[in-house]
């Protein structure tokens, strides 16, 4: 009897407690998932941008801004910038998708090699790649240097990894039944691709397009080195006005235009990115090549991949092995010695780069996971996060760099070495999101509900259902974050600079800023090592043994 009474009452009390505790927990979770990325982006993107724009625009009126925006030169530069970024992104999709498709469809020797190698261009210094391209064009008697075609080709070369790795990662795991149904209904392979697969992959295609567009939109070295003189984009104009002419207010207005373009782009592509797609949750369905036709398909696409990525890299490797009049490893051996021109040896700079890459990848992954959860939850905070996360890719390095100078000096953060990889992570974040958000959105809510009914708490659902399903996507994103970190020396070079933060690309640049065959040889060898390193890191992060043991 007593127990009966007790049982009637206890749950009542327990219930009210449990309810409030649950609400509290959920609130806390929401604050962490949205709050950490918001603080992160505010400190390292929004606040520096506000700081630099406010300072540059001091004393500048609305009429001055309108005058600058209204200049015909500004309009034509904006038009060219958007045009070349769009064409570059479309071109990258055109070249990247066949490669992604082959990697998704066939299991063949060299599959992992292509996946690994494709990311190398992403980190190679433009000057070096330009020289390789130049040597290549000369060899084939092409007059492509210093033209818009050279710019587009270079953008495709640099960015094809985004499409191959991010889209390819999902494609292998896409639900093939709709495509099979379409085929039985009489759709040819091209129609299946157009009407089914492209739609299934829409969120990742949109995400990849966005990333490549933004990369090309703010590309600096490629435009300057390969575009021919005075081929101006908003990015190069910002540099010209801020550095060569010190007309900071013009640079600030141009930076404002960049922010507007990023915002418009975020809104336009959001529609595609929010689309739910049944992707990413299935087993890797790649099969061995069996028919002659498939073999031909594979060979043709591999040749394409080699032509686009392999040949310029082969030229680079060949040049790095050139010692005097013959070949040898002298340039590589010299990486261990410290050149008097560098604060540390090239090898030490490589170690710094690796450490930074690891930290940047880890930070980008953690912040990316939290942000993805907030974005998937939707709402204004999620949408704002989705757009703000793109900013570091879409605003110029000079703007952000000056922003760091102004905004972070105030907190004396600009000299903290640890902030360098953390700032790298800001630029890596969009890659983690581009890979992870579609994966998270593609999880069938029924699977989560099934887990909850079976006794999994919300946290357990995240750990046992979401995590295994998006782990691979996070790894892909983190691989890019590592690569971005190794290749980055734009905005973040305004942060701490000294022996402790002297990275390998900086060493390449320093070496190539002085005459001397030794220095050039070392720089080229260092580029090759950086490339190998990035390929290895990206592969290692994604690596998963058959028994499920992996880094992530």
């Amino acid at each position: 009897m007593d127990s009966a009474v007790g049982r009637d009452r206890a749950p009542l009390i327990g219930r009210s407690l449990r309810l409030s505790a649950g609400v509290w927990r959920r609130l806390l979770a929401a604050m962490v998932t949205a709050g950490v990325p918001v603080v992160f982006l505010t400190l390292l993107v929004i606040w520096p941008l506000i700081a630099v724009l406010v300072r540059s625009m001091a004393g500048v009126g609305a009429s001055d801004v309108l005058e600058i925006v209204g200049r015909p030169s500004v309009r034509s530069v904006l038009a060219f910038t958007v045009w070349q970024a769009t064409v570059s992104a479309l071109g990258t999709l055109c070249v990247g998708l066949p490669i992604a498709h082959v990697l998704a469809r066939y299991r063949f020797w060299g599959r992992d090699v292509i996946r690994a190698v494709v990311i190398v261009p992403f980190v190679l210094p433009t000057v070096v790649v330009a020289a390789a391209f130049g040597a290549l064009f000369d060899r084939f008697g092409l007059e492509l240097d210093r033209s818009v075609w050279a710019v587009l080709a270079a953008h495709i070369f640099f960015n094809v990894a985004v499409v191959v790795r991010i889209v390819g990662g999902f494609w292998a795991r896409v639900d093939q039944r709709p495509a099979e149904v379409a085929a039985t209904l009489g759709a040819g392979p091209f129609h299946v691709l157009r009407t089914i697969t492209v739609r299934q992959l829409a969120p990742v295609l949109a995400g990849s397009f966005l990333l490549v567009f933004l990369f090309s939109f703010t590309s600096f070295g490629v435009i300057r080195v390969l575009g021919g003189l005075r081929r101006a984009t908003i990015e190069t104009e910002i540099y010209r006005f801020a550095i060569a002419r010190q007309e900071f207010e013009v640079a600030a207005v141009l930076a404002g235009i960049q922010v507007v373009v990023v915002a418009v782009l975020a809104v336009v592509t959001a529609r595609f990115q929010r689309r739910h797609a049944d992707i990413g949750n299935r087993a890797d369905r790649a099969t061995k090549v069996t028919t002659m036709r498939q073999r031909l398909h594979l060979v043709v696409v591999c040749c394409l991949a080699i032509a686009v990525i392999g040949v310029p890299m082969a030229v680079l490797v060949e040049q790095s092995l050139t010692v005097g009049t013959g070949y040898g490893f002298g340039n590589y051996a010299r990486l261990l010695e410290r050149s008097p021109l560098l604060p540390v040896s090239a090898a030490q700079a490589l170690v710094t780069s690796i450490l930074f890459a690891i930290v940047a990848a880890a930070v980008a992954a953690v912040v990316g996971i939290l942000a993805s959860i907030a974005i998937e939850r939707g709402g204004p905070t999620g949408r704002a996060l989705e757009a703000f996360a793109l900013l570091p890719l879409g605003v110029s390095a000079v703007t952000l760099g000056f922003g760091y100078l102004v905004g972070l000096t105030a907190f004396d953060l600009n000299r903290q070495v640890w902030l360098v990889p953390v700032a790298h992570a800001v630029i890596g974040l969009p890659f983690v999101l581009a890979a992870m958000v579609p994966a998270l959105r593609s999880i069938d809510p029924r699977v989560r509900e099934a887990a909850a009914v079976l006794g999994a708490s919300p946290r357990a659902v995240r750990m046992t259902v979401d995590w295994p399903l998006v782990r691979r996507a996070i790894a892909t994103g983190a691989g890019f974050a590592a690569a971005v970190s190794i290749g980055e020396f734009g905005a973040t070079s305004f942060l701490a600079r000294g022996a402790g933060s002297f990275t390998a690309p900086l060493a390449v640049f320093r070496l190539l800023s002085n005459p001397g065959q030794q220095l050039r040889g070392q720089a080229l060898a260092l580029c090759v090592v950086i490339g190998v390193l990035v390929a290895a890191m990206a592969t290692l992060i994604e690596y998963r043994r058959d028994d499920g043991v992996s880094l992530l």
Partner: protein, 363 residues
Amino acid sequence: MTECRCCDRTTRLMTALLVDEASVRYGDRTALDRFSVAADTGQIVAVVGPSGSGKSTLLRAIAGLEPLSGGRIVLDGRDLAGVPTHRRGLGLMFQDHGLFSHLDVAGNVAYGLRMQGEDPDVQRSRTAELLDLVGLENLGSRRADQLSGGEAQRVALARALAPRPGLLMLDEPLGSLDRALRHQLTEELRLLLSELGQTAVHVTHDQAEAFALADRVVVVADGRVLGEGAPAELWADPGSRFVAEFLGHRNLWSVDLDGDGRLRWQGASLGEVDVEHPLRRRRSPGQVVVVPITALSLRGPGCGQFSATVTEVGFRQGRYHIVAKRSQGGGPEIGVYLDAPTAPSVGETIEIGVDLGVIRPVD
């Protein structure tokens, strides 16, 4: 006091699930409208209704996946208000399985046990036991997305049963399977559940499946209960035109009852109904009655209560299925559906007898 405790005990022992005037709203739309249903321990209750009737919402509400806007849900004497899904101790089997594609079959089955923090050895043995139970003892290491439909269904069942849930919920569990497999699995499921004494709520749009599986059938539409009872009772006396039609009754006739108890339908006199017959109490003109197909039979010439012209002859499950049209009396042609052991030919006039004792009025 003693009485009270006694009642309490009885209720708790007998009623495993009590859904009491539960309401669920999606914005302006009411998906469940003061919905009540109960299941005794060990009982299988089938909730059947057309799609969009609120069946799945009911399951989601019980699971705590949809919040109630009114009413309560009590499981084993415990009010579930405020209890999160994962603490409700339920099993749920979806139409499209909802299997964890990243886990193998054994991993799927063991999932609930893992969440309960069971000892790995216990997990292993219980998983083996359940895979054995559903006949998949050799598939433990197969990846979940490489199973056939029937296999996936069995895995989903094993997974739901493994943690010994207080209530098993089946949401169109066999909906995606082919007919033969569905029959077979319905049988297996029934045997298995009764063997385990498992309380279950089974949601389906297929009345045949509901009848085959359930101890009690609840017919729902628009979020409301329209009829409920044991399968045979509900079939014999559906109570409403909607339920009758939903359960598959085709002969819904509008009849008149004379003052002396004679029943007339389309000008034909069907005979006198018993004094005790429920129709005696409902004698409004044009009263609709349900005439089960089993109440009709072919008669020899002159022996039937009325005649009709055969328009279609089909053969189904060992019997001829005949559609005939009644045309005398000048009224509109009305179809009569009956089963017959021998086949008349189309256009032939047949005599039909009616067992008045089993016809029931409906609203």
